[in-house]
Symmetry: C2
Subunit: 281 residues, 2 copies
Amino acid sequence: MASPPTPLRAPEHQVAGHQAAEGQLGPLVDGAGLFFKPLQGDGRGDDEVSFYTLVSSLPSSSSFFPSFHGTRLLPASDGSGPHPHLALEDLVAEFSNPAIVDIKIGSRTWYPQASEDYIRKCFEKDQRTTSASLGFRISGIQIRDGSGAWKPDRGEIRRFSPRDVRIALRRFVSSDPRSDPDRALAAAVYGGADGVLAKLGELKRWFEEQTLFHFNSVSVLVVYERDEGATLGKGKVKVKLVDFAHVVEGKGVIDHNFLGGLCSLIRFISDVLTGLDENCI
Amino acid sequence: MASPPTPLRAPEHQVAGHQAAEGQLGPLVDGAGLFFKPLQGDGRGDDEVSFYTLVSSLPSSSSFFPSFHGTRLLPASDGSGPHPHLALEDLVAEFSNPAIVDIKIGSRTWYPQASEDYIRKCFEKDQRTTSASLGFRISGIQIRDGSGAWKPDRGEIRRFSPRDVRIALRRFVSSDPRSDPDRALAAAVYGGADGVLAKLGELKRWFEEQTLFHFNSVSVLVVYERDEGATLGKGKVKVKLVDFAHVVEGKGVIDHNFLGGLCSLIRFISDVLTGLDENCI
């Protein structure tokens, strides 16, 4: 007997990107492990489908990406009728209280083939945010706790200084995300053989080799389960790349823009783990 | 008895930067191991002195830089009278037939504090050259041989495409630099425990750690002695960083722009060594 179709809804834990809330066109989840992302027009959707098709066939790198389940024609979240969606792994489906940070990598977020106007806008935003100075910027962050939550809005996040980024990466692994960061979960989440740093290290080694793709404006999404009493819950720490609408061919050249930014992020997270960041705050 | 003062002259083997030839203000050498670089006005000269003073006191990194011997007041090469000069190691003094390539690292060559006009000019040049696409560009190259020489002029080098850069890095280690590159010296110059790749690997490890400086518009200079019959001559392969007029404080952040470009250069040189570059040419 076929199981009844699960109703689609806007994801509860989305921290960045287009939102399906308030009748906008945005992603949907089925609550059973799939995340549906509406395909964008202007060729970007097709590019993302081609990218997922290719990358999910590469064993060397498939662990860095949400698993791909083809495309589906689904009712759009804005009520405009059937719309093609990417069917992807819902990265937070198995978490009951996920702490999430979305970090856009690269000091440059535009791609060389873009229009002059698009490049200028991205260039200015990269300068205004920490992209240019740090090689990455936080695009979204969410931590919920028995005692409260921390989910700064987009405007606040866009104004993050390098110092704010350091503090956010501490708060992300602290007992009470709203007050003095104590780094109580730093060793469990950032350290260890399955922790964030180990996974970013694997990603770095792949980026030192791969010359197939340049990942413009792509984010690293970090998720972990936060149990009561601010401990790391069951289920491993997840580190995945997301948002591939601006991936272009690498043409035999490594993605030096992504790799440089990734190395900078690795250093920032190492600094939180070792407490070295206190010298910089 | 004091040795007679050695006459100063324009360096014979300079491949990039300001030239002392034709009555311009440019660097001088004494033929006995010192290279004198006229201090630039507008604060850049002072910055370079401070940088050399600090960096030559750091044991972790001093091998990456020309040794520093203070400043000297010397007659300027343009005949304008006494002018302060940096006294540096003459990197080619011990070579009789040096092959030299000057590679400016970074997809971005401007520094954030620069004027809008300066940033725009650098941005456009980075796009026109291979800086933006490869994360580095060749600024000068010279190979002399019994049978001839290859020293393309600045205009030709500025027009180098990514493919031209691959070919230049092959020709740099080939028997006859003017014709089909055979990579005859690749293993000796690029490979081995004292070769270019080993030295760039050390440099990379330093850049993954150091957060003191951001090396804007800095070059990696590679020099080796070319004996008759296109073999590697006595004296080790040299790999040094040069030109620090636009170095700025790192403020606790790694130099992701330099590191990304350096990783791309390492990949290009590895490709020449393994012959993988033939797939890309």
